[in-house]
């Protein structure tokens, strides 16, 4: 009888998790009630769990370093991995609703941290519904960049409420974003670093970019 190989979710050659064991459906319902843990407020978010090397103990929340980049709907983590080495001093986080995919990204980051000591310590992922709970993770004007790669158009009228970019949600994104602008090396990554972007490139399709900056309204009374 031939020996059967033990199924390894982590590939022995590269040390990275194998995608076929973490496959999930493309859509997860963002409207449903969630039962995963959500921090009560941004100050309760445990940085030492996500960035153990930078914040060794959980009560060392001195507030000096905060998360600055957020990848909303990070999928399998392609963009985050590329950004991590490009901005080694910036803390960044990915938010994903599907649990299997989040597990994949977690394993991927852990494997990369082991394989490259000192690198990839500034990136992490959390399973959450970003449409409902962004204010729970980030304080006012905390983020400098938010990534939405790529918003599902949801063409049907009845699905418009599931859109990640909508006038109401923009209010919340504006709340967590700082208002500033700088010349950016990130823009090139938008089409090349994500799995979706690579898929489109493989199939010879076109990509379109949209970059927005947060403005301060002129009639604000303060």
């Amino acid at each position: 009888m031939p020996e059967t190989e033990v199924k390894a979710t982590i590939s022995k050659s590269t040390g990275l998790p194998r995608k076929r064991f973490y496959r999930a459906r493309a859509h997860s319902n963002p409207l449903s009630d969630s039962h995963f843990p959500v921090p009560i407020s941004p100050s309760q978010f445990d940085y030492s769990l996500h960035y153990p090397q930078i914040f060794p103990s959980s009560d060392q929340a001195d507030g000096s370093r905060k998360i600055q980049f957020a990848d909303i709907g990070c999928g399998f983590g392609g963009l985050l991995i590329s950004l991590s080495t490009l901005f080694p001093e910036t803390l960044m986080i990915g938010m994903e609703l599907r649990d299997k995919v989040t597990e994949y990204v977690k394993e991927r980051i852990l494997s990369l941290r082991v394989a490259n000591p000192g690198q990839y310590q500034n990136v992490s992922v959390v399973r959450t519904n970003s449409m409902k709970y962004i204010p729970n993770y980030f304080e006012k004007a905390q983020l400098t960049k938010m990534f939405f790669l790529f918003p599902d158009p949801h063409f049907k009228e009845k699905n418009h409420r599931r859109r990640v970019i909508s006038p109401f949600l923009l209010d919340e994104y504006a709340y967590v974003l700082k208002a500033e602008l700088e010349a950016d090396p990130v823009v090139k990554l938008l089409s090349s670093a994500t799995e979706e972007g690579q898929k489109v490139a493989r199939n010879g399709g076109q990509t379109f970019q949209a970059v927005f900056r947060r403005i301060v309204p002129s009639d604000q009374t303060s």
Partner: protein, 429 residues
């Protein structure tokens, strides 16, 4: 066995969908008192000493489904009622005519009137807050039907409470996901309110009620909020900072360490701040009476001042109203209808006077309340109410609130059978 249990649960859920708690609102100068029970709106004019007759020639007359929110404007000129029939009716308090009917796409869960009386905001069950311009409505001028515009939205979360800050600068919306959002109320609200001032985060369950403590030192007021986690919290709205937490259910002696204590049985159902004396009246599910909290503005703390129980009746208030003119707290308990027990819509009104830091609160008897027997007859529907209905009503209200606001827990064992209707799970032929 499992199927029978599931069936029984579905049936009781259906019954409880229509159960709406009775609501009360008091005119800021105690000119009139309004009670809403189910679709019925009852108003008693205290100056005239008789029931006010409501005239509604605006759209579909009166409400057909249970009313979920009523409110007087802070200037006393407007009154708003809204409910499950997806309409918001705005009344003039001078003539008690309906001056405007606004139709909403979804059922309405909360209403608020801006401090200057020019805008009415209402929140629907999907978390969108709408605004309507009502400037120029007074007396006998009818505005007809108005279309609302969306102001802001909480993503897919019921908003049980909507409030304006006392200086009119902010609009506050509390939702089922334990968040309180403080948004700048712009000069042209019809374009939407896009600048969020802060989020007041700290509650661990749905936030059911909001109120402001007025203080001279703090012109924008301190926010007090009550929630399903049985706490009342004090906030500073410009920064969203949590100033103090008061575990009202524990302090009122409701939580005993017995294994049968249910998880969500002690939600705070309503809050009411008193203008002078800085006392806050709190109504809790399953407490027969109210808790009075005192707020120390300089120290920014909350503490339990007194627990007032209503002797002689199983009276669990569902809604509170305060009249600053006479320092009286008005309470109502009641429910729209109890299908299981065949009781008609029931409402019972009680009043507590001498709400003051120095005096002892006195629960007034039926003959001592302003308006007397006539008021009770108008607002309650009858002068005396069958007492045995109270406990059933309290239970029904508690279950209805739980079904509406507590997140459903789906058991893991029949998860596969629930996925049977999914397209990708259907057997390929």
């Amino acid at each position: 066995m499992e199927e029978a249990e599931a069936e029984a649960e579905v049936e009781s859920n259906r019954d409880n969908v229509e159960v709406a708690p009775a609501l009360i609102a008091v005119h800021p100068e105690q000119i009139s008192v309004a009670v809403a029970v189910g679709p019925d709106l009852r108003v008693f004019d205290l100056l005239a000493g008789s029931a006010a007759s409501l005239v509604d020639e605006c759209g579909a007359p009166f409400h057909k489904d249970p009313i979920r929110a009523i409110r007087f404007g802070s200037r006393g000129k407007l009154f708003v009622s809204a409910g499950d029939d997806k309409t918001v009716k705005i009344w003039s308090t001078e003539s008690w005519r309906c001056v405007c009917t606004v139709s909403s796409e979804k059922r309405v869960s909360a209403v608020a009137i801006s401090e200057d009386g020019c805008h009415v905001c209402f929140a629907d069950k999907f978390g969108v807050v709408w605004v309507v311009d009502v400037a120029g409505s007074h007396g006998h001028v009818t505005l007809g039907d108005r279309k609302p515009t969306p102001l802001l939205s909480h993503y897919c979360s019921i908003i049980p409470s909507l409030e304006f800050s006392p200086d009119g600068r902010f609009i506050l919306s509390a939702d089922r996901d334990s968040k309180i959002r403080v948004t700048n109320f712009p000069k042209k609200p019809l374009n939407g309110a896009h600048e969020i001032q802060s989020f007041c985060l700290g509650h661990t369950e749905f936030v059911s009620c909001l109120a402001f403590v007025h203080a001279r030192e703090c012109p924008q007021g301190l926010l007090v909020s009550g929630s399903g986690d049985s706490t009342v919290r004090l906030w500073d709205i410009s920064s969203g900072a949590l100033l103090d937490t008061c575990e009202v259910a524990a302090k009122a002696g409701l939580l005993e360490s017995n294994g049968e204590a249910e998880e969500h049985g002690h939600a705070v159902t309503d809050l009411c701040t008193t203008i002078s004396g800085l006392l806050i009246a709190v109504a809790i599910q399953s407490l027969q009476g109210i808790v009075l909290l005192s707020c120390d503005v300089s120290a920014q703390t909350l503490s339990v001042s007194k627990v007032v129980s209503i002797a002689g009746e199983a009276f669990v208030p569902t809604c509170l109203g305060f009249s600053p003119a006479e320092g009286k707290l008005w309470m109502v308990t009641g429910v729209s209808s109890l299908p299981a027990c065949n009781y008609p819509p029931l409402a019972r009104v009680r009043v507590i006077s001498a709400i003051d830091a120095e005096q002892e609160p006195v629960v007034l008897g039926d003959d001592e309340i302003p308006g007397g027997e006539k008021l009770l007859e108008t607002l309650q529907g009858s002068a005396s109410v069958d007492e045995s209905a109270f406990l059933a009503a309290a239970e029904a209200v508690k279950t209805a609130m739980r079904n509406l606001l507590i997140k459903k827990q789906y058991p893991a064992d029949n998860r596969e059978s629930r996925k049977k209707t999914r397209n990708d799970r259907k057997l390929k032929m």
